[in-house]
Protein backbone atom coordinates (compact mmCIF):
# COMPACT_ATOMS: atom_id res chain seq x y z
CA UNK A 1 0.00 0.00 0.00
CA UNK A 2 2.77 2.36 0.97
CA UNK A 3 6.22 2.10 -0.47
CA UNK A 4 9.08 4.32 0.58
CA UNK A 5 12.44 3.92 -1.08
CA UNK A 6 15.62 5.78 -0.27
CA UNK A 7 13.63 8.74 0.96
CA UNK A 8 15.77 11.73 1.86
CA UNK A 9 14.62 15.18 2.89
CA UNK A 10 17.12 17.94 3.34
CA UNK A 11 16.33 21.37 4.69
CA UNK A 12 18.66 24.30 4.24
CA UNK A 13 21.31 23.06 6.64
CA UNK A 14 19.99 19.89 8.19
CA UNK A 15 19.12 16.47 6.91
CA UNK A 16 15.73 15.65 8.41
CA UNK A 17 15.28 12.24 6.84
CA UNK A 18 18.20 10.26 5.52
CA UNK A 19 17.72 7.42 3.07
CA UNK A 20 14.74 5.69 4.64
CA UNK A 21 13.07 2.69 3.01
CA UNK A 22 10.11 0.69 4.23
CA UNK A 23 6.88 -0.82 3.03
CA UNK A 24 3.44 -1.07 4.54
CA UNK A 25 0.93 -3.64 3.47
CA UNK A 26 -2.78 -3.13 3.15
CA UNK A 27 -4.74 -3.15 6.39
CA UNK A 28 -1.71 -2.94 8.66
CA UNK A 29 -1.19 -0.49 11.47
CA UNK A 30 2.36 0.71 11.49
CA UNK A 31 3.88 2.62 14.35
CA UNK A 32 6.45 5.24 13.60
CA UNK A 33 8.64 5.38 16.64
CA UNK A 34 11.34 7.88 17.41
CA UNK A 35 12.33 10.66 19.75
CA UNK A 36 11.39 14.25 19.01
CA UNK A 37 13.16 15.53 15.95
CA UNK A 38 13.81 12.07 14.56
CA UNK A 39 12.13 12.86 11.25
CA UNK A 40 8.74 11.27 11.84
CA UNK A 41 6.71 14.32 10.93
CA UNK A 42 8.85 15.05 7.89
CA UNK A 43 8.37 11.52 6.56
CA UNK A 44 4.63 11.82 7.07
CA UNK A 45 4.57 15.17 5.34
CA UNK A 46 6.29 13.67 2.33
CA UNK A 47 3.78 10.82 2.27
CA UNK A 48 0.86 13.24 2.37
CA UNK A 49 2.33 15.35 -0.44
CA UNK A 50 2.82 18.36 1.79
CA UNK A 51 6.57 18.36 1.24
CA UNK A 52 8.37 17.03 -1.82
CA UNK A 53 11.25 14.63 -1.11
CA UNK A 54 14.80 15.77 -1.83
CA UNK A 55 15.73 12.32 -3.08
CA UNK A 56 14.16 8.89 -3.25
CA UNK A 57 10.58 7.97 -3.92
CA UNK A 58 7.43 7.40 -1.96
CA UNK A 59 4.23 5.98 -3.32
CA UNK A 60 0.77 5.36 -1.95
CA UNK A 61 -1.47 2.75 -3.57
CA UNK A 62 0.88 2.71 -6.53
CA UNK A 63 0.82 6.47 -7.10
CA UNK A 64 4.02 8.44 -6.72
CA UNK A 65 3.84 11.48 -4.46
CA UNK A 66 5.67 13.67 -6.95
CA UNK A 67 4.12 12.47 -10.19
CA UNK A 68 0.55 11.89 -9.10
CA UNK A 69 -0.05 13.98 -5.98
CA UNK A 70 -3.79 14.38 -6.64
CA UNK A 71 -4.37 10.63 -6.66
CA UNK A 72 -2.28 10.21 -3.51
CA UNK A 73 -4.10 13.01 -1.70
CA UNK A 74 -7.44 11.49 -2.62
CA UNK A 75 -6.43 8.25 -0.90
CA UNK A 76 -4.89 9.68 2.24
CA UNK A 77 -6.45 11.00 5.39
CA UNK A 78 -4.03 13.04 7.43
CA UNK A 79 -4.10 14.21 11.02
CA UNK A 80 -1.14 16.53 11.61
CA UNK A 81 0.39 16.97 15.03
CA UNK A 82 -1.86 19.91 15.80
CA UNK A 83 -5.27 19.16 14.32
CA UNK A 84 -5.95 21.60 11.47
CA UNK A 85 -9.11 23.17 12.85
CA UNK A 86 -10.84 26.47 12.24
CA UNK A 87 -11.92 27.74 15.65
CA UNK A 88 -14.65 29.95 14.22
CA UNK A 89 -16.49 27.02 12.62
CA UNK A 90 -18.99 24.64 14.11
CA UNK A 91 -17.98 20.98 14.16
CA UNK A 92 -20.49 19.82 11.55
CA UNK A 93 -19.80 22.86 9.40
CA UNK A 94 -16.08 22.13 9.55
CA UNK A 95 -16.51 18.46 8.68
CA UNK A 96 -18.75 19.42 5.78
CA UNK A 97 -16.11 21.83 4.53
CA UNK A 98 -13.32 19.26 4.75
CA UNK A 99 -15.51 16.58 3.18
CA UNK A 100 -16.34 18.79 0.21
CA UNK A 101 -12.67 19.69 -0.09
CA UNK A 102 -11.76 16.01 -0.22
CA UNK A 103 -14.16 15.53 -3.08
CA UNK A 104 -17.33 14.18 -1.48
CA UNK A 105 -20.36 15.20 -3.52
CA UNK A 106 -22.93 17.48 -1.94
CA UNK A 107 -25.45 14.65 -2.10
CA UNK A 108 -23.38 12.34 0.11
CA UNK A 109 -21.85 14.85 2.45
CA UNK A 110 -24.55 14.93 5.13
CA UNK A 111 -24.51 11.15 5.44
CA UNK A 112 -20.72 11.03 5.68
CA UNK A 113 -20.65 13.75 8.33
CA UNK A 114 -23.21 11.79 10.35
CA UNK A 115 -21.14 8.65 10.02
CA UNK A 116 -17.84 10.11 11.13
CA UNK A 117 -19.31 12.15 13.97
CA UNK A 118 -20.78 8.93 15.28
CA UNK A 119 -17.63 6.96 14.74
CA UNK A 120 -15.40 9.48 16.46
CA UNK A 121 -17.93 10.18 19.21
CA UNK A 122 -18.26 13.89 18.55
CA UNK A 123 -22.03 13.78 17.97
CA UNK A 124 -22.81 15.67 21.15
CA UNK A 125 -20.70 18.67 20.13
CA UNK A 126 -21.80 18.82 16.50
CA UNK A 127 -23.18 22.32 16.69
CA UNK A 128 -20.52 23.73 19.00
CA UNK A 129 -17.81 26.08 17.88
CA UNK A 130 -14.50 24.26 17.51
CA UNK A 131 -12.76 27.05 19.41
CA UNK A 132 -14.78 26.13 22.49
CA UNK A 133 -13.93 22.43 22.47
CA UNK A 134 -11.59 20.68 24.89
CA UNK A 135 -8.33 19.20 23.69
CA UNK A 136 -9.73 15.66 23.59
CA UNK A 137 -12.69 16.68 21.45
CA UNK A 138 -10.46 18.65 19.13
CA UNK A 139 -8.30 15.61 18.60
CA UNK A 140 -11.35 13.53 17.79
CA UNK A 141 -12.68 16.15 15.39
CA UNK A 142 -9.25 16.05 13.79
CA UNK A 143 -9.55 12.30 13.46
CA UNK A 144 -13.07 12.61 12.04
CA UNK A 145 -11.68 15.06 9.50
CA UNK A 146 -9.03 12.54 8.47
CA UNK A 147 -11.48 9.71 7.80
CA UNK A 148 -14.33 11.68 6.29
CA UNK A 149 -13.60 10.66 2.71
CA UNK A 150 -13.01 7.05 3.75
CA UNK A 151 -9.38 7.02 2.61
CA UNK A 152 -7.35 3.87 2.02
CA UNK A 153 -4.49 5.20 4.07
CA UNK A 154 -4.57 7.10 7.33
CA UNK A 155 -1.56 9.08 8.45
CA UNK A 156 -1.78 10.14 12.08
CA UNK A 157 0.94 12.29 13.60
CA UNK A 158 1.05 11.69 17.35
CA UNK A 159 -2.69 11.13 17.69
CA UNK A 160 -2.59 10.76 21.46
CA UNK A 161 -0.14 13.55 22.34
CA UNK A 162 -1.44 15.82 25.05
CA UNK A 163 -4.50 13.77 25.92
CA UNK A 164 -5.40 12.55 29.38
CA UNK A 165 -5.14 8.80 30.10
CA UNK A 166 -8.83 8.12 29.53
CA UNK A 167 -8.80 9.95 26.23
CA UNK A 168 -5.65 8.11 25.22
CA UNK A 169 -7.40 4.79 25.74
CA UNK A 170 -10.45 5.98 23.81
CA UNK A 171 -8.34 7.22 20.94
CA UNK A 172 -6.39 3.98 20.82
CA UNK A 173 -9.60 1.99 20.68
CA UNK A 174 -10.88 4.21 17.94
CA UNK A 175 -7.71 3.71 15.92
CA UNK A 176 -7.95 -0.04 16.40
CA UNK A 177 -11.53 0.03 15.15
CA UNK A 178 -10.44 1.89 12.06
CA UNK A 179 -7.73 -0.62 11.33
CA UNK A 180 -9.88 -3.09 9.42
CA UNK A 181 -10.79 -0.72 6.62
CA UNK A 182 -7.73 1.47 6.51
CA UNK A 183 -4.00 1.13 6.36
CA UNK A 184 -2.69 3.26 9.18
CA UNK A 185 0.61 4.91 9.88
CA UNK A 186 0.83 6.57 13.26
CA UNK A 187 3.78 8.26 14.85
CA UNK A 188 4.57 8.38 18.51
CA UNK A 189 7.42 8.57 20.92
CA UNK A 190 5.67 6.35 23.44
CA UNK A 191 6.62 2.70 23.23
CA UNK A 192 3.53 1.30 24.95
CA UNK A 193 1.40 3.05 22.38
CA UNK A 194 3.02 1.02 19.65
CA UNK A 195 2.62 -2.19 21.62
CA UNK A 196 -1.07 -1.49 22.08
CA UNK A 197 -2.13 -0.69 18.61
CA UNK A 198 0.42 -1.55 15.96
CA UNK A 199 1.28 -4.59 13.88
CA UNK A 200 4.62 -3.32 12.72
CA UNK A 201 7.10 -0.80 13.99
CA UNK A 202 9.42 1.50 12.11
CA UNK A 203 11.99 3.04 14.38
CA UNK A 204 13.89 6.08 13.24
CA UNK A 205 16.43 8.19 15.00
CA UNK A 206 18.11 11.35 13.75
CA UNK A 207 16.58 10.83 10.34
CA UNK A 208 17.96 7.33 9.95
CA UNK A 209 16.09 4.07 9.92
CA UNK A 210 17.07 2.06 12.98
CA UNK A 211 14.81 -0.96 12.66
CA UNK A 212 11.61 -2.14 11.07
CA UNK A 213 10.01 -5.22 12.47
CA UNK A 214 6.81 -6.69 13.78
CA UNK A 215 5.90 -5.63 17.29
CA UNK A 216 6.36 -9.11 18.80
CA UNK A 217 9.78 -9.59 17.32
CA UNK A 218 10.91 -6.23 18.42
CA UNK A 219 9.64 -6.45 21.96
CA UNK A 220 11.04 -9.93 22.32
CA UNK A 221 14.29 -8.73 21.03
CA UNK A 222 14.36 -5.80 23.34
CA UNK A 223 12.82 -7.42 26.36
CA UNK A 224 14.96 -10.49 25.75
CA UNK A 225 17.64 -8.98 27.84
CA UNK A 226 16.41 -8.29 31.29
CA UNK A 227 17.36 -5.47 33.60
CA UNK A 228 17.08 -6.03 37.32
CA UNK A 229 17.35 -3.57 40.17
CA UNK A 230 18.95 -5.16 43.17
CA UNK A 231 19.54 -3.97 46.72
CA UNK A 232 21.83 -5.81 49.04
CA UNK A 233 22.55 -5.20 52.72
CA UNK A 234 24.90 -7.00 55.00
CA UNK A 235 23.75 -9.04 57.94
CA UNK A 236 26.84 -8.06 59.94
CA UNK A 237 29.39 -5.36 59.27
CA UNK A 238 29.89 -3.14 56.22
CA UNK A 239 30.01 -4.51 52.73
CA UNK A 240 32.55 -3.94 50.04
CA UNK A 241 30.98 -2.76 46.79
CA UNK A 242 33.64 -4.33 44.60
CA UNK A 243 33.23 -7.65 46.31
CA UNK A 244 29.47 -7.77 45.84
CA UNK A 245 29.81 -6.63 42.25
CA UNK A 246 32.31 -9.34 41.53
CA UNK A 247 30.04 -11.97 43.08
CA UNK A 248 27.08 -10.81 41.01
CA UNK A 249 29.07 -10.81 37.82
CA UNK A 250 29.88 -14.46 38.38
CA UNK A 251 26.20 -15.40 38.19
CA UNK A 252 25.61 -17.13 34.88
CA UNK A 253 23.70 -15.10 32.31
CA UNK A 254 24.71 -11.72 33.70
CA UNK A 255 26.19 -9.37 31.16
CA UNK A 256 26.77 -6.26 33.17
CA UNK A 257 26.57 -5.06 36.76
CA UNK A 258 26.31 -1.37 37.44
CA UNK A 259 26.70 -0.11 41.00
CA UNK A 260 24.07 2.52 41.80
CA UNK A 261 24.02 4.27 45.14
CA UNK A 262 25.12 3.27 48.59
CA UNK A 263 23.07 4.30 51.59
CA UNK A 264 23.35 3.19 55.24
CA UNK A 265 25.29 0.11 54.31
CA UNK A 266 22.75 -0.91 51.66
CA UNK A 267 24.16 -1.31 48.19
CA UNK A 268 22.07 -0.86 45.07
CA UNK A 269 22.95 -2.35 41.69
CA UNK A 270 21.47 -2.60 38.28
CA UNK A 271 22.11 -5.92 36.64
CA UNK A 272 21.55 -6.61 32.97
CA UNK A 273 21.18 -10.10 31.58
CA UNK A 274 22.39 -11.62 28.38
CA UNK A 275 19.97 -12.11 25.53
CA UNK A 276 17.12 -14.44 26.46
CA UNK A 277 18.37 -15.31 29.96
CA UNK A 278 16.35 -15.10 33.13
CA UNK A 279 18.64 -14.26 35.97
CA UNK A 280 16.46 -13.21 38.86
CA UNK A 281 16.32 -16.58 40.60
CA UNK A 282 20.08 -17.11 40.27
CA UNK A 283 20.80 -13.62 41.52
CA UNK A 284 18.68 -14.12 44.62
CA UNK A 285 20.37 -17.43 45.35
CA UNK A 286 23.83 -15.93 44.89
CA UNK A 287 23.11 -13.10 47.30
CA UNK A 288 21.58 -15.30 49.97
CA UNK A 289 24.28 -17.96 49.67
CA UNK A 290 26.93 -15.31 50.25
CA UNK A 291 25.30 -14.52 53.56
CA UNK A 292 23.95 -11.09 52.60
CA UNK A 293 20.43 -9.77 52.96
CA UNK A 294 18.44 -9.32 49.82
CA UNK A 295 16.38 -6.17 50.35
CA UNK A 296 15.00 -5.68 46.91
CA UNK A 297 14.88 -7.45 43.59
CA UNK A 298 12.73 -6.19 40.76
CA UNK A 299 12.67 -6.21 37.01
CA UNK A 300 13.25 -2.83 35.46
CA UNK A 301 11.43 -2.24 32.20
CA UNK A 302 13.66 -0.97 29.46
CA UNK A 303 12.70 2.60 28.70
CA UNK A 304 12.50 3.90 25.19
CA UNK A 305 15.78 5.67 25.80
CA UNK A 306 17.45 2.36 26.62
CA UNK A 307 16.00 0.80 23.53
CA UNK A 308 17.30 3.62 21.42
CA UNK A 309 20.67 3.35 23.03
CA UNK A 310 20.67 -0.36 22.40
CA UNK A 311 19.50 -0.07 18.84
CA UNK A 312 21.78 2.76 17.91
CA UNK A 313 24.68 1.00 19.60
CA UNK A 314 23.82 -2.09 17.59
CA UNK A 315 23.71 0.00 14.51
CA UNK A 316 27.27 1.09 15.01
CA UNK A 317 28.49 -2.49 15.25
CA UNK A 318 26.64 -4.04 12.38
CA UNK A 319 24.77 -2.31 9.65
CA UNK A 320 21.03 -1.64 10.07
CA UNK A 321 19.71 -4.84 8.64
CA UNK A 322 16.04 -5.61 8.50
CA UNK A 323 15.31 -7.47 11.73
CA UNK A 324 18.71 -8.82 12.66
CA UNK A 325 18.15 -11.69 15.04
CA UNK A 326 20.85 -10.88 17.55
CA UNK A 327 21.36 -7.23 16.99
CA UNK A 328 21.03 -6.21 20.60
CA UNK A 329 24.09 -7.97 21.88
Amino acid sequence: MIKVQGLTKRYARTVAVDNISFEVEKGQIVGFLGPNGAGKTTTMRVLTCYLPPTAGTASVAGFDVLENPMEVKRRIGYLPETPPLYPEMEVSEYLTFVGRLKGISSADIARRVDEVTQRCAVGDVRSKLIGKLSKGYRQRVGLAQAIIHNPDVLVLDEPTAGLDPKQIIETRDLIKHLAGDHTIILSTHILSEVEHSCDRVVIINKGKLVATDSVENLTNRLRGSEAVALEVASANGPLDVAEVQQRLEQVSGVSRVLPRETKDGRLAFEVESLQGRHIRADLARAVVNSGWNLNELRAVGLSLEDIFLQLTAAEKKDKPVEAPAEAVQ
Binding site: Y50, E88, F97
Partner: protein
Protein backbone atom coordinates in the same frame (compact mmCIF):
# COMPACT_ATOMS: atom_id res chain seq x y z
CA UNK B 1 -14.41 25.23 -10.11
CA UNK B 2 -16.40 23.65 -7.26
CA UNK B 3 -13.25 23.69 -5.18
CA UNK B 4 -12.77 27.41 -5.74
CA UNK B 5 -16.31 28.00 -4.57
CA UNK B 6 -15.85 25.79 -1.48
CA UNK B 7 -12.78 27.76 -0.41
CA UNK B 8 -14.41 31.07 -1.28
CA UNK B 9 -17.48 30.31 0.83
CA UNK B 10 -15.32 29.25 3.75
CA UNK B 11 -13.36 32.51 3.56
CA UNK B 12 -16.52 34.60 3.45
CA UNK B 13 -17.95 32.71 6.40
CA UNK B 14 -14.88 33.26 8.52
CA UNK B 15 -14.88 36.98 7.68
CA UNK B 16 -18.45 37.23 8.88
CA UNK B 17 -17.87 34.96 11.88
CA UNK B 18 -15.39 37.49 13.22
CA UNK B 19 -15.99 41.19 13.84
CA UNK B 20 -13.67 42.16 10.99
CA UNK B 21 -16.33 42.19 8.26
CA UNK B 22 -18.78 44.26 10.29
CA UNK B 23 -16.04 46.59 11.44
CA UNK B 24 -14.86 47.26 7.91
CA UNK B 25 -18.40 47.80 6.66
CA UNK B 26 -19.26 50.16 9.51
CA UNK B 27 -15.98 52.02 9.13
CA UNK B 28 -16.44 52.45 5.40
CA UNK B 29 -20.09 53.48 5.73
CA UNK B 30 -19.10 56.13 8.27
CA UNK B 31 -16.22 57.59 6.27
CA UNK B 32 -18.05 57.42 2.97
CA UNK B 33 -21.14 58.94 4.62
CA UNK B 34 -19.02 61.84 5.82
CA UNK B 35 -17.59 62.32 2.32
CA UNK B 36 -21.08 62.14 0.89
CA UNK B 37 -22.36 64.71 3.34
CA UNK B 38 -19.67 67.26 2.52
CA UNK B 39 -19.91 66.66 -1.22
CA UNK B 40 -23.71 67.10 -1.36
CA UNK B 41 -23.64 70.05 1.03
CA UNK B 42 -21.13 71.87 -1.13
CA UNK B 43 -23.10 70.96 -4.22
CA UNK B 44 -26.35 72.34 -2.82
CA UNK B 45 -24.66 75.46 -1.45
CA UNK B 46 -23.01 76.10 -4.79
CA UNK B 47 -26.41 75.77 -6.46
CA UNK B 48 -27.99 78.32 -4.09
CA UNK B 49 -25.17 80.79 -4.47
CA UNK B 50 -25.17 80.69 -8.26
CA UNK B 51 -28.95 81.11 -8.31
CA UNK B 52 -28.85 84.09 -5.95
CA UNK B 53 -26.22 85.77 -8.04
CA UNK B 54 -28.40 85.23 -11.06
CA UNK B 55 -25.79 83.21 -12.87
CA UNK B 56 -27.04 80.17 -14.64
CA UNK B 57 -24.11 77.78 -13.99
CA UNK B 58 -24.78 74.28 -15.30
CA UNK B 59 -24.93 71.78 -12.44
CA UNK B 60 -24.10 68.11 -12.82
CA UNK B 61 -24.47 65.59 -9.99
CA UNK B 62 -22.24 63.05 -11.73
CA UNK B 63 -19.41 65.51 -12.24
CA UNK B 64 -19.66 67.41 -9.01
CA UNK B 65 -20.74 64.83 -6.42
CA UNK B 66 -20.22 61.31 -7.67
CA UNK B 67 -16.86 61.71 -9.35
CA UNK B 68 -15.04 63.12 -6.32
CA UNK B 69 -16.88 60.64 -4.12
CA UNK B 70 -15.64 57.69 -6.16
CA UNK B 71 -12.11 59.03 -5.97
CA UNK B 72 -12.56 59.36 -2.23
CA UNK B 73 -13.88 55.79 -1.99
CA UNK B 74 -10.87 54.46 -3.90
CA UNK B 75 -8.54 56.17 -1.43
CA UNK B 76 -10.43 54.85 1.59
CA UNK B 77 -10.38 51.35 0.08
CA UNK B 78 -6.60 51.57 -0.02
CA UNK B 79 -6.60 51.66 3.76
CA UNK B 80 -9.13 48.86 4.17
CA UNK B 81 -7.49 46.32 1.86
CA UNK B 82 -4.68 45.32 4.27
CA UNK B 83 -7.25 44.45 6.92
CA UNK B 84 -9.00 42.16 4.46
CA UNK B 85 -5.95 40.35 3.13
CA UNK B 86 -3.66 40.11 6.14
CA UNK B 87 -5.25 36.96 7.50
CA UNK B 88 -5.75 35.16 4.17
CA UNK B 89 -2.67 32.93 4.36
CA UNK B 90 -0.80 34.15 7.44
CA UNK B 91 -3.50 32.84 9.78
CA UNK B 92 -3.62 29.42 8.14
CA UNK B 93 0.15 29.19 8.27
CA UNK B 94 0.13 30.04 11.94
CA UNK B 95 -2.61 27.61 12.99
CA UNK B 96 -1.39 24.86 10.66
CA UNK B 97 -4.63 24.62 8.71
CA UNK B 98 -2.64 25.35 5.56
CA UNK B 99 -1.46 21.76 5.92
CA UNK B 100 -5.05 20.59 5.55
CA UNK B 101 -5.55 22.64 2.40
CA UNK B 102 -2.25 21.62 0.86
CA UNK B 103 -2.80 17.92 1.51
CA UNK B 104 -6.32 17.94 0.09
CA UNK B 105 -6.94 16.90 -3.51
CA UNK B 106 -7.16 20.47 -4.72
CA UNK B 107 -4.76 22.59 -6.76
CA UNK B 108 -2.83 25.50 -5.33
CA UNK B 109 -4.43 27.87 -7.79
CA UNK B 110 -7.87 26.76 -6.67
CA UNK B 111 -6.98 27.64 -3.09
CA UNK B 112 -5.58 31.01 -4.15
CA UNK B 113 -8.44 31.89 -6.46
CA UNK B 114 -10.98 30.85 -3.83
CA UNK B 115 -9.35 32.96 -1.15
CA UNK B 116 -9.00 35.94 -3.46
CA UNK B 117 -12.64 35.67 -4.52
CA UNK B 118 -13.73 35.44 -0.90
CA UNK B 119 -11.78 38.59 -0.12
CA UNK B 120 -13.20 40.30 -3.19
CA UNK B 121 -16.75 39.44 -2.17
CA UNK B 122 -16.15 40.91 1.27
CA UNK B 123 -14.73 44.00 -0.40
CA UNK B 124 -17.91 44.20 -2.50
CA UNK B 125 -19.99 44.03 0.66
CA UNK B 126 -17.94 46.89 2.09
CA UNK B 127 -18.33 48.94 -1.10
CA UNK B 128 -22.01 48.06 -1.06
CA UNK B 129 -22.42 50.27 2.00
CA UNK B 130 -21.99 53.29 -0.28
CA UNK B 131 -25.04 52.24 -2.28
CA UNK B 132 -27.22 53.73 0.47
CA UNK B 133 -25.83 57.16 -0.26
CA UNK B 134 -25.91 56.77 -4.02
CA UNK B 135 -29.52 55.61 -3.77
CA UNK B 136 -30.30 58.90 -2.02
CA UNK B 137 -28.93 60.80 -5.00
CA UNK B 138 -31.29 58.86 -7.22
CA UNK B 139 -34.19 59.59 -4.89
CA UNK B 140 -33.64 63.36 -4.92
CA UNK B 141 -31.94 63.93 -8.25
CA UNK B 142 -31.41 62.48 -11.67
CA UNK B 143 -27.82 61.29 -11.94
CA UNK B 144 -26.75 59.29 -14.98
CA UNK B 145 -26.36 55.65 -13.88
CA UNK B 146 -23.86 54.52 -16.50
CA UNK B 147 -20.83 56.48 -15.29
CA UNK B 148 -21.64 55.31 -11.75
CA UNK B 149 -21.57 51.71 -12.88
CA UNK B 150 -18.23 52.24 -14.59
CA UNK B 151 -16.91 53.99 -11.51
CA UNK B 152 -17.84 50.98 -9.38
CA UNK B 153 -16.28 48.65 -11.91
CA UNK B 154 -13.10 50.68 -11.49
CA UNK B 155 -13.32 50.38 -7.71
CA UNK B 156 -13.73 46.63 -8.01
CA UNK B 157 -10.81 46.28 -10.40
CA UNK B 158 -8.58 48.45 -8.25
CA UNK B 159 -9.66 46.52 -5.16
CA UNK B 160 -9.03 43.20 -6.89
CA UNK B 161 -5.51 44.32 -7.77
CA UNK B 162 -4.66 45.36 -4.23
CA UNK B 163 -6.27 42.21 -2.84
CA UNK B 164 -4.09 40.06 -5.10
CA UNK B 165 -0.98 41.91 -3.94
CA UNK B 166 -2.13 41.60 -0.33
CA UNK B 167 -2.73 37.88 -0.77
CA UNK B 168 0.83 37.48 -1.98
CA UNK B 169 2.23 39.38 1.00
CA UNK B 170 0.13 37.24 3.33
CA UNK B 171 1.77 34.05 2.02
CA UNK B 172 5.21 35.31 2.97
CA UNK B 173 4.69 35.42 6.73
CA UNK B 174 2.99 33.71 9.64
CA UNK B 175 2.38 37.01 11.35
CA UNK B 176 -0.85 38.79 10.46
CA UNK B 177 0.37 42.12 11.79
CA UNK B 178 3.41 42.02 9.53
CA UNK B 179 1.29 40.94 6.56
CA UNK B 180 -1.14 43.79 7.20
CA UNK B 181 1.59 46.35 7.80
CA UNK B 182 3.58 45.51 4.69
CA UNK B 183 0.43 45.43 2.56
CA UNK B 184 -0.55 48.82 3.88
CA UNK B 185 2.89 50.19 3.06
CA UNK B 186 2.78 48.77 -0.47
CA UNK B 187 -0.73 50.14 -1.05
CA UNK B 188 0.42 53.53 0.17
CA UNK B 189 3.45 53.41 -2.10
CA UNK B 190 1.38 52.50 -5.15
CA UNK B 191 -0.92 55.37 -4.32
CA UNK B 192 1.87 57.89 -3.77
CA UNK B 193 3.70 56.96 -6.98
CA UNK B 194 1.50 59.37 -8.91
CA UNK B 195 2.46 62.22 -6.55
CA UNK B 196 6.16 61.65 -6.77
CA UNK B 197 6.09 61.93 -10.51
CA UNK B 198 3.52 64.67 -10.93
CA UNK B 199 6.13 67.13 -12.17
CA UNK B 200 8.54 64.67 -13.67
CA UNK B 201 8.26 64.53 -17.43
CA UNK B 202 11.19 62.19 -18.04
CA UNK B 203 10.78 58.64 -19.28
CA UNK B 204 11.23 57.21 -15.81
CA UNK B 205 8.49 59.46 -14.52
CA UNK B 206 6.10 58.13 -17.11
CA UNK B 207 6.88 54.53 -16.20
CA UNK B 208 6.53 55.11 -12.47
CA UNK B 209 3.36 57.09 -13.02
CA UNK B 210 1.94 54.27 -15.09
CA UNK B 211 2.50 51.85 -12.21
CA UNK B 212 0.48 53.94 -9.82
CA UNK B 213 -2.84 52.35 -9.00
CA UNK B 214 -4.54 55.75 -8.79
CA UNK B 215 -3.69 57.04 -12.27
CA UNK B 216 -5.64 54.21 -13.82
CA UNK B 217 -8.64 54.83 -11.66
CA UNK B 218 -9.12 58.44 -12.79
CA UNK B 219 -10.66 57.36 -16.07
CA UNK B 220 -13.20 55.14 -14.32
CA UNK B 221 -14.14 57.96 -11.92
CA UNK B 222 -14.94 60.13 -14.93
CA UNK B 223 -17.11 57.34 -16.27
CA UNK B 224 -14.73 56.53 -19.09
CA UNK B 225 -14.22 52.82 -19.74
CA UNK B 226 -10.76 52.64 -21.27
CA UNK B 227 -9.54 49.18 -22.27
CA UNK B 228 -5.98 50.30 -21.43
CA UNK B 229 -6.91 50.72 -17.76
CA UNK B 230 -8.99 47.55 -17.64
CA UNK B 231 -6.08 45.59 -19.07
CA UNK B 232 -3.71 47.21 -16.58
CA UNK B 233 -5.83 46.10 -13.64
CA UNK B 234 -6.55 42.64 -15.01
CA UNK B 235 -2.88 42.00 -15.70
CA UNK B 236 -1.96 43.28 -12.24
CA UNK B 237 -4.51 40.91 -10.71
CA UNK B 238 -3.10 38.05 -12.73
CA UNK B 239 0.43 39.00 -11.76
CA UNK B 240 -0.48 39.23 -8.09
CA UNK B 241 -2.17 35.83 -8.06
CA UNK B 242 0.67 34.34 -10.05
CA UNK B 243 3.34 35.39 -7.57
CA UNK B 244 1.04 34.17 -4.79
CA UNK B 245 1.02 30.71 -6.35
CA UNK B 246 4.80 30.79 -6.76
CA UNK B 247 5.16 31.79 -3.15
CA UNK B 248 2.88 28.97 -2.06
CA UNK B 249 4.86 26.48 -4.06
CA UNK B 250 8.06 27.68 -2.45
CA UNK B 251 6.40 27.03 0.93
CA UNK B 252 6.44 23.37 0.09
CA UNK B 253 10.13 23.39 -0.63
CA UNK B 254 11.12 25.49 2.34
CA UNK B 255 8.49 24.51 4.90
Amino acid sequence: MTNVWIICRKELKSYFASPIAYLLMAFFALIFGFGFFTATRDFVRFGFVSQMQGRNTPMNVNEQVIRPLLGFASTVALFLIPMVTMRLFAEEKKTGTIELLMTSPINDWEIILGKWLGALLLYLCVLGMSAINIAMLFAFGKPDWKPILIGYLGLILQGGTLLAIGAFISTTTKNQIIAGGVTFFVCLLLWLLSWFTAFDSSGYGAVVNYLSIVTHFEGFAKGVLDSKDVIFYLSMIFFGLFITSRSMESLRWRA
